[in-house]
Structure formats: C-alpha cells, structure tokens
C-alpha cells in the first residue's frame, strides 16, 4: 500500500512537471520560429531565404517604428491602468455589495467578452463618428485619436479584469474583512487595507491580460482612429508594412525586438528588486 502510494505520487508528480514543461514548449515554439525567421533574407515572412540582418537594418532606419512602439506602450499602459481600476471596483461591488437589478447587471458586464471584436469596432466607429464627436464639437472640443483608442481598449478590457478578480474574491475568507469591520474600520478602509492586498495576484493577472489585449488589438484601434491623424500603434504599423498580400520579414523583426525589450525590462526590475532586498539585509 505504502509503496504503491509513493509510486503513484511520484508518477503524478512527474506528470505534472512534464505537462508544465510541454506547455511552456508549446508557448515558445512559434516564438522560436519567428525569431529565426526575423533573420531571413527573403522579402516574404514565410519563406526562408538564407541568413541576413536586412530586416533589422531596415527597421532601425525607419523612424515610424519608434513612434508606433511608443504609441502602443502608452495606449496599453493607460488603458490597462484604468481598466484595472474600473474592473476591480466592479468585481468588489458585484461580489461584496447588495445591489438591485443584480441579475441584469451581471449579464450586462459580461457582454463585452461575448461580442465579436469586429462588431464592437464597428459600433465604436459609429459611436465616435456619429454620436460623441458631434456632441463634443458643439462645445468646441475634439477627441484626439489616442484618447479614442484608449477608451475603446478600456471598454473591452474591463470585463476581463472583473472576471479574474471576482474568481479570487468569491472564496476569499470574509472573516478577515469582518474582523477589521468589528475593530471599527470603515468599509472603505477594509477594502483598501485588507481586501485589495489579498486580491493583488488577481489584479496583476487581470492587468496582464488587459495589457496583452490592448497590445494586440487591431480592429478597435483601426476603427476608432479618425481620418488623417496618422496615429499608428504597432499592429497598425505592421498592417501598413504588409502591402497588398506580401508579409515582409520586418514583422518578425519587430516582434523579436518587442521580446528583447520586455526581457530587458523584467531583468531590470529583478535587478532593482534584488538590490533593494540586499540593502534591507
């Protein structure tokens, strides 16, 4: 019995490791391919044309790539920040407060996940062009393209953050919150001092999802930008690279550079973290 149990435990343990390993390999398989092909000499992204640094050379001489990258990061950061705040607040309210019309509100806040992206993009296109812009221009103001894009990204991200945060909130032990209330904390203090810290991993997870959604978005961005602004995020820049039917390898090079930049950022963060640890010690 004991031996069998130990054997079964070991098998399950190694299966777990194997599955995890396989999943990471699966995640990085296409990434390896795209890095490899960013060094291809061919003008076509799917064709291996021998080793070359041409794609990088062409990229680094293109001033537009820098502004596109910057735009993407600015849009993704601000959209993620706001969507995370709004989504977390929604999750808290829906999970912790007594609310009238709860059923309808619940179903409604899930809808942005249901709607196909192209339909939301077209809806926002018409909303901006026919409703919001005319309305805002009557008071002599306008909506700049980056702001319209950020608004769109917030809209499709809120629900994702909400779902992730609610999942953690659902079975979170209420006794801590109740204890704080008993000790005379206001509900708001409880949220800030007790609930939010406990929610941190879910908030981070939700924010990461919102960030990638924003970084990858094409349709909402494309249709939310007005005519003639020339405002381009990275996906719009890549769209402009493609031309009629050809996919130049610069696309792979852009993606590879994104990876390198993210890796450098995380390395920097780790370094700073370690230094602050050692200083404390």
């Amino acid at each position: 019995m004991g031996r069998l149990k130990r054997w079964a435990d070991q098998t399950i343990g190694s299966l777990l490791v194997l599955d995890t390993l396989l999943t990471y390999i699966f995640l990085y398989l296409p990434i390896g391919v795209l890095i490899l092909y960013s060094f291809s000499a061919s003008r076509y992204a799917l064709v291996w044309g021998g080793f070359s640094l041409d794609a990088y050379r062409r990229l680094l001489t293109d001033p537009e790539i820098v502004s596109a990258l910057l735009n993407s990061v600015i849009v993704a950061t601000s959209a993620t920040a706001l969507a995370t705040v709004l989504g977390t607040a929604l999750a808290l309210a829906l999970e912790r407060a007594r609310i009238r019309w709860r059923g309808s509100i619940e179903a409604f806040v899930y809808l942005p996940i249901v709607i196909p992206e192209i339909v939301m993009a077209v809806g926002l296109l018409l909303f901006f062009a026919q409703v919001l812009r005319p309305l805002v221009s009557t008071v002599g103001l306008g909506i700049s393209p980056p702001l319209a894009v950020i608004a769109g990204h917030i809209t499709f991200s809120i629900s994702y953050v909400m779902v992730v945060v609610r999942a953690r909130l659902r079975d979170l032990d209420k006794s801590l919150e109740e204890a704080a209330l008993d000790l005379g904390a206001t509900p708001w203090q409880v949220v800030r001092r007790v609930t939010l810290p406990l929610l941190a991993p879910a908030i981070i997870s939700g924010a990461l999802l919102a960030f990638t959604l924003s970084l990858d978005d094409f349709y909402v961005t494309y249709f939310a930008t007005t005519g003639g602004s020339g405002f381009k995020t990275l996906p719009l820049y890549l769209y402009a690279l493609q031309g009629r039917a050809a996919i130049p390898p610069q696309m792979n090079a852009v993606a590879s550079l994104m990876l390198v930049a993210s890796l450098m950022l995380i390395a920097l963060a780790l370094l700073v973290q370690r230094r602050s640890y050692s200083r404390r010690a």
């Binding site: 018409l126 702001l147 708001w188 005519g227 039917a245």
Partner: protein, 352 residues
C-alpha cells in the same frame, strides 16, 4: 475622502479623453492626408513631393475597398486623397462623397492612356483618374506542374484538380471566386441570372474539397514555400513573387479574366483640394509614375511613363498583357440589389 478622490480620478480621465483632443486637431504646418492601400507608393516619391512642395504627407491604410467604405460611410473625415478601385468609385460617386476634379489643374492627365480614360464608372473622369491596374488570373509554380494552366478548367475540373489536391487556393472574395466560376461556365462575371449563379455555386462546392484554402492575403507566400502549386490571384502579387523565384508564372485563362484599376480621387470633405490636385498631378509625371511602377511591379495607366519603366517589367506579358488578351478581360461592376444573389451563393459555399 479617498472615495471622492477615486471618483474625481475617473471623472478626470473621462473629461481629458474628450478635452485633450481639441489641440490635436489643429495642424501647425501644411499636411496632405492619404488613405491608401498599404505599401502602394514608393516612399521615395513621398520624399520628393515633400521636398518640392514643403508639405508633409500623412498616410493611413486600408486593405480592402470595403474597409475604405466602412470608414467613409460612417462619417469619418480628415482624408484628402483616397485610392478606391473601379466599382467602389461608382458607389462613392453615387453617395456624393467625391469632389469634382478640375482637370485644368492636372495637366499630366494627358499622360493617361486613352484606353484608361472615361472608364465605365466615371465616363468623363469627373471624379477619378485611373492610376495602377491589374488582372485576376492563375499563378503557378512551373516546376511543380505538368502542363501550364491555360483555362479556368485547371481550377475547376475535378479530374484536373485531383493532381494538385490540397495544393490549390482560391481568392477569399465572393465576386472574384464566383466571377471565375461564371467565366469558366461561359457567363459574364456580372451575371445576375439565377440559373448561372446556381451553376457557379455547384461548381464552387465541387471544387471546395480540393482546395487548400480560400486566401486573398498569403497565397503568394505559400506559392513560394511550395505549399501551393496553383493559386487564383491578382497579377501584381505573382509579379512580385517572381522576383523571389523565377519559376512562379502567371496566366490569364483563355476564357478571359477580370481587369481592375485603382484610382486617385479627392474627398468632398477635404480642406486641401488645391494641394490634392497638385499631388495627383505629381504622381502622373512620367518619371515619378515610373518610379512607382518599378517599385511595385503593377502596370500603370500612364503611357508617357513607359520609357522610364524597367524593360523587364514592360516586356513581361504577365504584367502588361498583350492586346488580344486585354480584349477578353471584364470589369467587376457594382450590381446593386442583385448582389444579394452573390451573397447567398457565397454564404452557402463558405458555410457548407
């Protein structure tokens, strides 16, 4: 206390969203805004124009006429020049979105070949000037094919398709795919006869099991990688693929194919109509026009540009087809109500 802070934060965010845009819409210096197919003009040409006229060009892109129309019909403005294809010009004229051209401001219009003046969608070139054009036909890898395709039969006859099963692609485009089937059956690509369309639907359904994909974007890539052997597609793409691999060829089937043209047009909503005329005139200068053709390998409507175009482009029958083939080509027209027939056929072909 803190709650009001959060509230004012959100309110501030919403307000700034609306407010900040005010300044962004006012431009300090002269700009010209293009809404055009991606990668459709040699960047060098933009630089030359910017140098000569002191105007900076801002480009935005679309990848289909329908995307272009979606934006314009939704009421988006801010573009000066757009580059729609033939049938879309017709629709945009009818919707009153295009500005009337003043041809006296475009003296280089005289460079346009008589063959491309006054086309069906704009008989007096009041709104549009044809710029680049091309054809739809069959591209193939000569090394992997026994006999070069000369007829649409090579794309539609099961006996012939059997040899290249899962190595064939059709354009993911209802008018082009149904049009090719109609052409093979001996009808016009603009047929609205329900029987003809029913026949075309059956042909397409019989063809589907042999196809690797319906594809309008990456078929040239897959032809180059060897994953496709025959592809239904646009002449310009095959011409570009040929630079990469000389075994890629293009032929227009003997039954005839489709001809199309992209056009330069100015939007009625433009505030820079004068400058837009100058830009169009600039693009029609022979040397400038030739630069674009040499960059893209698409044929130009510009006769005067020919001496400056690379000889291998001018002499390539796949790019500039001979007159006897040109005679057999047909324009895809806007069919109004009858498009519903095409929609039904395509929904069925794609959903089965």
């Amino acid at each position: 206390m803190t709650s009001t802070r959060t509230f004012s934060l959100v309110a501030l965010a919403m307000l700034s969203l609306i407010g900040l845009g005010a300044c962004a819409s006012q431009q300090a210096h002269r700009e010209l805004h293009l809404f055009i197919w991606a990668n459709y003009i040699d960047p060098e040409v933009y630089r030359l124009f910017e140098q000569e006229f002191g105007v900076s060009i801002i480009e935005e892109n679309f990848d289909s006429n329908e995307t272009l129309r979606n934006k314009l019909q939704a009421g988006v403005t801010g573009y000066d020049i757009i580059v729609p294809s033939d049938y879309t010009v017709e629709v945009l004229i009818r919707q009153g979105l295009l500005a009337e051209l003043d041809l006296s401001k475009i003296p280089n219009f005289q460079n346009i070949s008589p063959r491309f003046r006054g086309l069906y969608y704009d008989p007096h070139n009041r709104y549009s000037i044809p710029y680049l054009w091309g054809t739809t036909g069959i591209g193939y890898n000569a090394l992997k094919i026994e006999t070069p395709p000369t007829s649409w039969a090579d794309l539609f006859e099961p006996a012939l398709l059997e040899r290249y099963k899962n190595r064939v692609s059709m354009l993911d485009d209802p008018r082009e795919a149904i049009g090719a089937a109609l052409k093979y059956l001996g009808y016009s690509v603009n047929s609205t006869d329900p029987q003809a369309l029913a026949d075309a639907r059956n042909l397409l359904l019989a063809q589907k099991p042999y196809l690797a994909r319906y594809d309008s974007e990456t078929y040239d890539d897959f032809l180059l990688t060897g994953d496709l052997v025959i592809a239904h597609g646009w002449s310009g793409e095959f011409a570009k693929a040929r630079l990469e691999n000389p075994d890629i060829h293009y032929s227009i089937p003997q039954e005839g194919g489709v001809i199309w043209a992209d056009n330069l047009a100015i939007l009625k909503s433009s505030h820079r109509i004068d400058l837009a005329h100058r830009f169009i005139d600039f693009l029609l200068r022979p040397q400038i026009n030739a630069k674009i053709v040499n960059y893209l390998h698409y044929p130009s409507t510009n006769d005067a540009a020919r001496p400056y175009i690379l000889p291998e482009i001018v002499s390539d029958p796949a790019i500039y087809p001979p007159d006897e083939i040109l005679e057999k080509l047909e324009w895809i027209r806007d069919l109004g109500e009858a498009l519903a027939l095409y929609e039904a056929v395509w929904d069925e072909v794609k959903s089965r």
